[in-house]
């Protein structure tokens, strides 16, 4: 690993502050990024990372303080200005235009033109060059909406690289990537740095951070807590700096499976998965692991009635389930935490309370009216159980942090007092603090006899929660692991080894 060049910093933030009506998102933050350095920026959601990123991207303006490149203060009134200043940002949420091609997305707003017309040959050849740089094989002419998520993420990165920027900001770049793709990405980040660019690497995944970063800076509540070379820090130190307290636990506690709750036989989801069979017992967590696009996500959705099923039967506590939609699934005792909070999780305009009770309104009726005292009781109950942080239950849920929103959704599923809990990426985009809380919550539920089906693309998460795990590749279960056999190496072997065959 090349030591950070001792040259003058590429980027320096001096007393950067940003106030929003009613909140100080950034308070007098300063640190710097050296050329040729991978500088990790970590912090819980709401710590101010995204505000800082948006300022560097020219989307937001600082209230106070300056951004310096090569020692010269610069202003970034627009995204364009940021690009011109040599800063490019890879946002966490996709920034792609589904109807346009890979090439158009990569060179959006910089399309080479001949006269008035776009110069397609040049556009495509340039795109191929950049893609080659990352040895990604994609047809530049492919419309992005024909690509799987992981590929789209790669397009995002390609786009950022195409700017030949000197500072590249990556916000959770690996959120949607499989282990293998993560490896490739990290290598790429490193080579970028070696080529002299500065990389500001923003992530929740400390493992990656420690693997790739030269230095780490921590934000908390808009304040700059520390900046230090990676070598001088331990994960625990960083975590406690982020959350301001100590955390423990990284491996799965002992589980005590009880009676059979759910049986799935030969489930098939058209175009996604087939031949899925498993049993699920009370008091256990069954993991569905696999790389992106391995079909496990669709299996979860199918079980909850969000995907058409072409074959297979599901029995819950002996009774055969006919699930023709989420409503039916809920009534028959399934609780579901969807994988994309923004898109099909929260109801942004509704209050915290209403988000929790939306699924059980029919149960709390007096005549035609909703029993609001009962409703209030429900939310107060979960506030304690799940330690959801909100100022008052009629506050709009869109005002909560990602972690708390996720808890609200979990509370919603539990409120339907389900027998089986289907968790799909339960901690995606959630900060470490909340993550840990959610894990302990799940542990408690399982001890109390809940049967949990966990689908996650974060291997550590599966290892932390699941006592058994079915590994998917190319839409088929590759095998089941448990006990001592349930470990990173074994899972990756099933997920990739066979997976490769399936794809080829």
């Amino acid at each position: 690993m090349s030591a950070p060049g001792s040259a003058q910093p590429l980027l320096r933030l001096r007393g950067l502050s940003r106030r929003f009506p009613g909140v100080q998102a950034l308070d007098n933050v300063d640190f710097d990024v050296l050329p040729g350095e991978v500088h990790a920026l970590v912090g819980e959601n709401g710590a101010g990372k995204s505000t800082l990123i948006n300022i560097l991207a020219g989307v937001l303006q600082p209230s106070h303080g300056t951004v310096e490149m090569d020692g010269h203060p610069i202003v970034l009134p627009t995204p364009l200005a940021a690009q011109n200043a040599g800063i490019s940002v890879i946002f966490q949420e996709f920034n792609l235009l589904p109807h346009l091609s890979v090439a158009e997305n990569v060179f959006l707003n910089r399309e080479p033109v001949r006269g008035l017309r776009i110069d397609w040959p040049t556009l495509y050849s340039r795109t191929r060059e950049v893609l080659a740089l990352l040895d990604i094989d994609l047809d530049p002419r492919t419309p992005v909406n024909n690509l799987p998520v992981a590929q789209q993420q790669l397009v995002e990165i390609t786009k950022a690289l195409s700017f030949k920027s000197r500072l590249i900001v990556m916000d959770e770049p690996t959120a949607a990537l499989s282990e293998r793709e993560v490896e490739r990405l990290l290598g790429l980040v490193r080579s970028l740095a070696n080529s002299g660019a500065g990389v500001l690497y923003v992530s929740h995944r400390l493992a990656e951070v420690f693997q790739v970063a030269d230095r780490i800076s921590v934000l908390r509540d808009g304040h700059h807590i520390l900046t230090a070379p990676t070598g001088e820090l331990t994960e625990q130190q960083v975590i406690s700096a982020m959350v301001g307290r100590e955390l423990v636990h990284t491996q799965c506690p002992e589980r005590y499976p009880g009676e059979m709750v759910m049986q799935v036989r030969d489930l098939a989801v058209p175009g996604a998965a087939s031949g899925v069979s498993f049993d699920l017992r009370a008091g256990e967590v069954l993991g569905l692991a696999g790389l992106m696009g391995c079909g496990s996500t669709e299996v979860m959705q199918a079980l909850f009635g969000l995907q058409p099923r072409s074959a297979g039967e599901v029995t819950l506590q002996g009774k055969a389930l006919v699930i023709d939609g989420p409503r039916a699934a809920i009534h028959s005792g399934l609780g579901f935490v969807p994988n994309d909070r923004k898109r099909n999780g929260i109801l942004p305009d509704l209050s915290v309370m209403h988000n929790v009770t939306i699924g059980i309104l029919d149960r709390m009726r007096q005549a035609a009216w909703i029993d609001r005292t009962q409703e209030r009781a429900v939310i107060d109950g979960y506030r304690g159980k799940l330690s959801i942080r909100y100022s008052n239950p009629s506050q709009r849920v869109s005002g909560l942090s990602g972690g708390n929103q996720q808890k609200v959704i979990l509370a919603r599923a539990l409120a339907e007092d389900c027998r089986v809990l289907l968790l799909s990426e339960p901690t995606r985009g959630v900060d470490v603090g909340a993550k840990a809380e959610i894990y302990t919550m799940i542990d408690r539920l399982v001890e109390a006899g809940m049967a949990v089906l966990l689908q996650s693309s974060e291997l550590p998460e599966v290892l932390r929660l699941a006592n058994r795990c079915i590994v998917f590749a190319g839409g088929r279960p590759q095998g089941e692991l448990s006990g001592a056999h349930l470990n990173q190496a074994a899972v990756m072997e099933l997920a990739t080894g066979l997976g490769a065959k399936e794809v080829a």
Partner: protein, 331 residues
């Protein structure tokens, strides 16, 4: 998964021009044409066909502009009023400026109205629907005030007729104009940055903005074009009757939107089928003409157009049960 070269053609003009939808509309045109030919021997006579195409063109020209607006995820309800306003402005200026300049003036007037629409949307952040709804009534009022509610007419001023009466190889001017506009806009959409950015905006506005696309300017451009297109049909209409007044072209907006939708441009934005819009306009014009040829009372035209809309869209809805994908269509 593999990405064959089948994708390669997707981005050429043909992607914009020949969307699968426009085939079905084309078939519908043929079918209706066949039926009408069987019902009345008058339908397929050349003069009537030209007549149908002319009527279609007047709506199509607005429709083409509207297609851009819808592709960008917006609407323009003010086109009817804009058409009237531009018609009045241009005709009133003929004595002073002469026909060519007067026509230019009309186009400018239309483009300005469109620009104001765009500005209100981007600067005051009013949704397009509301903006153009408000402007619909404002501009109609301005047109009436401008003319004092009276007719402006140019008997004996036959030059202006060029817009409606002109011919080239026997093809009426409105048809030529519609085709020219369609060709122009499709190459703009397929080949220019502005065109691609229209689709970008319609495809995902926030992303486009974050990627540095000047979304505001794009919207101004779109609505200026819509306004100019509306102005053009407004002037063609007033040329047809050699009269302009504030009452001109009421209800044009809904007809224009209807032909765009029948033509298969999705309301969700990001895609545009200009050829579909042309065919949609022809389809509607054929039906109205046919009913007139058969001396059917006008209110049956409402019925058929309504049914046509529903059938056309019902056909577009893809079958198969998948709640999540169905949502994006209905909501």
């Amino acid at each position: 998964m593999t990405f064959g070269t089948t994708e390669s053609k997707r981005l050429s003009m043909s992607r914009v021009l020949r969307s699968a939808q426009s085939y079905t509309v084309g078939l519908a045109v043929l079918a209706v044409g066949l039926v009408l030919t069987l019902l009345t021997n008058r339908f397929l006579r050349i003069d009537n066909v030209l007549n149908v195409l002319t009527n279609a063109s007047v709506v199509a020209i607005v429709g083409l502009g509207m297609t851009l607006a819808i592709a960008s995820g917006n609407f323009d309800l003010s086109v009817g009023s804009t058409a009237a306003f531009a018609g009045c402005v241009s005709m009133s200026l003929v004595p002073a400026l002469g026909v060519p300049l007067a026509i230019v003036a009309g186009l400018v007037a239309g483009a300005l109205v469109g620009l104001v629409n765009g500005l209100i949307m981007t600067e005051l952040r009013v949704p397009a629907f509301i903006t153009t709804l408000g402007m619909m009534s404002v501009v109609r009022g301005l047109a009436l005030i401008y003319t004092g509610g009276r007719d402006i007419y140019l008997y004996g001023q036959t030059e202006y007729k060029v817009l409606s009466g002109g011919h080239l190889l026997g093809i009426p001017m409105p048809v030529l104009l519609a085709l020219a506009l369609a060709a122009l806009l499709s190459s703009v959409l397929a080949q220019t940055r502005f065109g691609r950015h229209i689709l970008a905006v319609g495809s995902n506005l926030p992303s486009a903005r974050r990627s540095g696309v000047r979304t505001s300017q794009v919207l101004w451009g779109i609505f200026a074009i819509v306004g100019a297109a509306a102005a053009l049909s407004g002037m063609i209409i007033s040329a047809q009757v050699l009269t302009a007044n504030g009452r001109l072209a009421t209800g044009l907006e809904l007809n224009a939107i209807a032909v765009v939708v029948v033509g298969g441009t999705a309301l969700t934005g990001g895609k545009a089928s200009l050829s579909g819009t042309l065919l949609g306009a022809v389809l509607v014009a054929m039906i109205n003409n046919g009913l007139n040829l058969l001396n059917v009372p006008i209110f049956y035209q409402d019925l058929t157009v309504g049914l046509l809309l529903l059938v056309a869209l019902a056909l577009q809805v893809e079958r198969g049960w998948n709640p999540l994908t169905q949502l994006r269509r209905t909501q």
